[in-house]
């Protein structure tokens, strides 16, 4: 057992000079029975926009308060301790603003130890403790509650969750130890590992109650009053909960198995690169053994390793990109320049056009007109959109009124004149310059001279597309990622002649669509496709040179990308993939490979084999045959290094060409447009830490590089 009281936390405190301290205010509450409950309110004295966070000073203050209350409990002055937060917020977690400055694993370990010292006291007061979860409780915030004896939750609390593994940590202030004991291992895995990996899913109060994470739920109008009455009642009946949700037999015989199954599932979903989810899993499975204090000690050791690891540092960087950088896009013109969009025209009625129409109608709530020369295709598109809306309604995500409203906003026409009063027209027609040029020429003939025109091109030059326009300044690239409803990124392409009004409007539209826009220059592949083309081009070239498919497909495993190279190629489509490689080869013949074999594969139509569940099982023998004959195979290591160097080189060039403003923009694009993982920090932190940047251009993207100690 660690004696937390004996630890000198001054190395941590030196990092906390400008901490926004969450205070622990205490007031005695006399309950109806006459018992006195000392109620702690966590409050950083800021409004709800700055949630409570727990840094070293905050923890020490809480620790002092709880120490004093322990003495008061011993003296018989108080019968219980309650802890709650300022309005709407318990706490949003540990204060991570300084973690990048942690100099060593020893200091990192203190982060865990100080949390355990303070929060742990909620379990050793000598009287029961009650956490009244009055609002947001994430990470360390939820762990405050977990360390208490009992918990109630406000039914309107925004979210409860343990997102640590999402950031490369584990719930290390008791979460990984207490949670599996409290709600059972299987459920704990869902809350602390599976949910964070599902795009950082959190729990609603009703779910938390159902899981047993909290013991009672009360409405917001009298949450605290009812919680206090409830606590009084539990004290009255001397309620005692059992230590473990899962029985001794389950723990002994099933927990190891549950752990193994969970590990397998994780491996198939996220590969083996991310450290944190597995560390969390191991710590949780181990919690069946020994005391809570033993569990705390295990958590301390895991945190000591993870906090100073590369992955956590990169994840924090990525988290800040998504949370902060994404909200103030680089190079964006004044928002006030944006023109209102009151009617949208969509050229085309294919799959992409349908997805656009649905998205624009749902989010902008303005009339959306699709146009196509083929009435039957239009009818199909409208039927599809209405069907999708119906599905959303049946899932409870749209009310009947809202569905009617949006349905009636979408219409189809073969007469382009119906676009006359549209102020935003986006095309989703065939990816061919002449086709797009022709479309915009016809659109320009009917729309107002200041209507904004947007192209969803992924590989053509926006300037070329607009070359014959009377008013080319109003054309902007607006590149979505598939599936449109899911992927958060839009590359907003600023062509040479694109003016600020059009650009500002595009940014505003993207934000109203709830997408994250990144402004890119009008250069081949913009950001995401250019880097994916680099990666796929290297992979395909290695095959062309005789490297076995399997070797190539696993060569990039150390990156921990969401899917292997050939699964990605399969998802993109072999034809599209071949086209993308061609385009980039044409633009940058000395750096991007084209692949004749890929065209043959596209012709053949099949590359990988899948089982009934859609999981990849291997390669199509004919495809393997088609690509055979190369005589210069690479090893996995050689290919990995080539891809790392290739990416570093390409990104370095892109920054030199001002495709985007900063490396941050590149990383944001890769995270939101290609699903590249937080633990890589997108791309550049990874390339810095593996030495690729140094090898290629003799420096790093970030100074100092974003990596562990």
């Amino acid at each position: 057992m660690t004696n937390y009281d004996a630890i000198d936390f001054s190395p941590l405190l030196t990092l906390a000079d400008d901490e926004v301290v969450t205070h622990s205010y205490v007031r005695d509450i006399t309950l109806k029975s006459g018992r006195v409950l000392a109620l702690i309110t966590l409050d950083n004295d800021r409004d709800y926009k700055r949630p409570n966070t727990l840094g070293p000073k905050s923890l020490l203050e809480l620790d002092e308060v709880l120490t004093a209350l322990t003495a008061r409990a011993k003296a018989g002055e108080i019968a219980a301790v309650g802890i709650t937060g300022k309005q709407y917020i318990l706490a949003a977690g540990a204060d991570l603003s300084k973690v990048r400055d942690i100099p060593s694993a020893d200091v990192a370990r203190m982060m865990g130890q100080l949390g355990h010292r303070a929060l742990g006291r909620l379990g050793t007061l000598g009287v029961p403790s009650f956490a009244f979860v009055n609002g947001l409780a994430l990470g360390g915030g939820l762990e405050v509650a977990l360390n208490a004896t009992y918990r109630s939750v406000d039914t309107s609390a925004a979210a409860l969750g343990l997102p640590e593994t999402f950031l490369g940590l584990i719930p290390g202030w008791g979460g990984a130890t207490i949670l599996p004991r409290l709600i059972g291992l299987r459920r704990a895995i869902t809350v602390a590992i599976e949910n964070p990996l599902k795009n950082n899913r959190t729990l609603k109060p009703a779910e938390a109650l159902k899981l047993g994470l909290v013991d009672a739920a009360f409405g917001p109008a009298r949450f605290l009053e009812q919680s206090l009455a409830w606590a009084d009642n539990l004290l009255e009946i001397k309620y005692k909960r059992r230590t473990f949700q899962d029985g001794a037999f389950t723990r002994k015989f099933w927990w190891p198995t549950i752990g193994k199954v969970a590990r397998k599932t994780l491996e198939s979903r996220i590969g083996t690169v991310p450290l944190a989810p597995y560390a969390a899993l191991d710590t949780m499975v181990a919690s069946r053994k020994g005391s809570i204090a033993d569990g705390f000690a295990r958590e301390d050791e895991v945190l000591a390793k993870l906090i100073v690891a590369d992955q956590f540092q990169a994840s924090m960087y990525a988290f800040n990109l998504v949370q902060k950088h994404a909200k103030s896009p680089s190079g964006a013109p004044d928002k006030k320049l944006a023109r209102p969009v009151t009617k949208v025209g969509v050229v085309g009625a294919g799959l992409m056009a349908r997805q656009f129409a649905l998205l624009f109608a749902r989010q902008l709530k303005v009339p959306v007109v699709l146009t196509d020369i083929d009435q039957a295709r239009l009818d199909q598109a409208i039927t599809y959109i209405r069907g999708e809306l119906k599905t959303l309604e049946s899932k409870g995500r749209l009310s009947a009124d809202e569905r009617n409203r949006i349905s009636s906003l979408v219409s189809g026409t073969t007469d382009l004149n119906d676009f006359a009063d549209a102020d935003w027209v986006i095309e989703a027609v065939f990816e061919e310059l002449e086709v797009k040029r022709d479309v915009f020429a016809r659109v320009e003939a009917v729309v107002a001279p200041d209507a904004i025109l947007a192209t969803n091109t992924s590989s053509l030059s926006v300037a070329e597309i607009g070359a014959k326009l009377t008013h080319p300044k109003r054309l902007v690239g607006f590149h979505f990622f598939n599936p449109v409803a899911v992927m958060p990124l839009v590359e907003v392409v600023k062509a040479k002649k694109t003016d600020d009004v059009s650009l500002a409007t595009a940014m505003a539209v993207a934000q109203r669509l709830r997408k994250t826009p990144v402004i890119t220059k009008d250069s081949p592949g913009f950001v995401v496709n250019r880097l994916l083309a680099k990666l796929l081009g290297e992979a395909m070239h290695a095959v062309d040179e005789g490297t076995p498919f399997d070797v190539v497909n696993h060569a990039l495993d150390p990156l921990g990308l969401p899917m292997s190279s050939f699964e990605l190629l399969d998802l993109v489509g072999l034809k599209v993939g071949a086209h993308v490689l061609d385009t980039h080869h044409k633009a940058f013949p000395d750096r991007f490979f084209e692949s004749a074999n890929l065209h043959k594969l596209a012709e053949h139509g099949k590359l990988i084999t899948r089982d009934a569940q859609g999981n990849m099982t291997g390669f199509d023998p004919v495809a393997v045959e088609i690509c055979s004959g190369g005589t210069n195979p690479s090893t996995a290591e050689q290919l990995l290094a080539r891809v790392q160097d290739g990416l570093a080189d390409e990104i370095h060039r892109m920054l030199g060409e001002s495709v985007v403003v900063s490396a941050e923009d590149i990383d944001l694009c890769m995270i939101l447009g290609a699903g590249w993982p937080f633990q890589m920090g997108g791309a550049t932190p990874y390339l810095d830490r593996v030495g690729a940047s140094e090898r290629v251009f003799g420096s790093t993207f970030h100074t100092p590089p974003i990596k562990g100690v």
Partner: protein, 398 residues
């Protein structure tokens, strides 16, 4: 066809009354939230009541803006989680707001328009100081319709002293001292607490919970009151000691037709006999309860001697003793304000009427020898309101 239902007071509760202003408990709590907490607390006491049977929610406030705006009865119903089918409205007769909510709802029940409804009131005098948003019509002054002093309640109370020199400051102070004593002993006897809904409130020192009124000053003495400032006039008679303090609080009650209450198995704490509102000169608004009581008695066919318990709002001590003097009742008659009144508890304007009823209902239960009781109060701009109630626990012996 309109009916002639018997109207009963089923139950009533209130928030503890807090001191208005930055130092008061409810400074950071919204007025509408106070109503909602009281309303939920009331309904919690009747867990088997199907809330969709509630047919209206009338909530009063003297200032109907900000957190007391947006049609209080309806907002309170929605915020308290009542079914969306339950309607609601806001109502205003200044200090008699909640009383008027009760009589208006009672009228709807008497006619058969409703069988079960909520009435109550709120005043957050910290957020809505009296007169803060007044914009009196200049005709009041130019045509001398009302003396400018009529809008200052303290000045109207001074005028009662002027009019009746026998009502001295000493009598007012003595009344106030007894009020503090009665409140202290009512608290000691646990007479007040059962109908309070504790309210948790945020403050700069963290969350607290108010479970009793903030204002009472037990141990108040004549000596202590003697030299208090007279803020309305130099050498006047009205002081913070013999007037009701500025207060935040909310009250609600459940009213029903007697038949409905019996059918639903709801308690019957009081039965309404009659009510009346009557105007008086605005400059002496505190005299309002005299004519309104006479009228209510006349409507009920009762004499003042038949009233066994009085709950009279203590806006000012002088206004209460003026009332007592008129009816020949001693200043310290023990039928009057048994648990004490607004001088000690506070007077959150539009909510006080129901507080009087809550206290009368509690006394009825203890006093089966009493058949009739009265709640009465004065109202700014010169009015009085009186509701006469019958004790359902009356044992027929007195």
């Amino acid at each position: 066809m309109l009916k002639g239902n018997s109207v009963v007071f089923v139950d009533g509760v209130r928030t503890p009354f807090g001191k208005a202003g930055e130092k008061g408990a409810f400074w950071q709590t919204r007025a509408d939230d106070l109503v909602v907490k009281a309303l939920q607390g009331l309904l919690d006491r009747h867990p088997n009541l199907d809330q969709s049977l509630i047919e209206d929610v009338a909530i009063a406030a003297a200032t109907q803006s900000g957190d007391q705006g947006i049609m209080l009865g309806r907002t309170a119903a929605l915020l308290a989680g009542l079914p969306v089918t339950v309607p609601g409205y806001a109502i205003d007769r200044w200090c008699a707001g909640a009383m008027t909510a009760v009589t208006t709802i009672a009228s709807a029940i008497a006619t058969g328009a409703n069988d079960l409804a909520i009435a109550g009131g709120v005043e957050h005098m910290g957020h809505h100081p009296i007169g803060a948003e007044f914009d009196p019509n200049p005709r009041f002054v130019s045509e001398k319709l009302v003396d400018p002093g009529a809008l200052s309640m303290g000045e109207t109370a001074e005028r009662i002293h002027d009019r009746y020199p026998a009502l001295t400051k000493e009598r007012s102070d003595a009344y106030a001292v007894r009020c503090q004593e009665k409140v202290a002993s009512a608290y000691a006897d646990n007479k007040i607490q059962p109908d309070l809904i504790p309210v948790a409130y945020p403050s700069a020192q963290g969350w607290g919970q108010l479970d009793r009124d903030e204002h009472p000053r037990p141990g108040t003495s004549m000596e202590g009151l003697k030299d208090l400032k007279t803020p309305f006039r130099p050498h006047g008679r009205i002081t913070a000691g013999n007037a009701s303090p500025l207060t935040d609080g909310a009250t609600v009650c459940l009213l029903a037709s007697e038949d409905k209450a019996k059918q639903l198995g709801l308690p019957i704490k009081m039965r309404m006999v009659s009510f009346a509102f009557v105007g008086v000169e605005p400059e002496v608004m505190g005299l309002g309860p005299i004519p309104s009581t006479e009228k209510a008695l006349s409507k009920a066919g009762l004499s003042i001697d038949e009233i066994g318990l009085f709950e009279i709002n203590e806006a000012f001590a002088v206004q209460v003793i003026a009332f007592l003097e008129h009816f020949g009742i001693a200043d310290d008659d023990d039928r009057v304000n048994m648990y004490g009144g607004a001088i000690a508890l506070g007077h959150p304007l539009a909510s006080s009427g129901v507080r009087l009823m809550i206290q009368l209902a509690s006394q009825f239960e203890d006093r089966p020898d009493v058949r009739y009781g009265m709640t009465t109060m004065c109202i700014g701009l010169g009015q009085g309101g009186t509701v006469i109630w019958e004790n359902p626990h009356w044992n027929g012996k007195a």
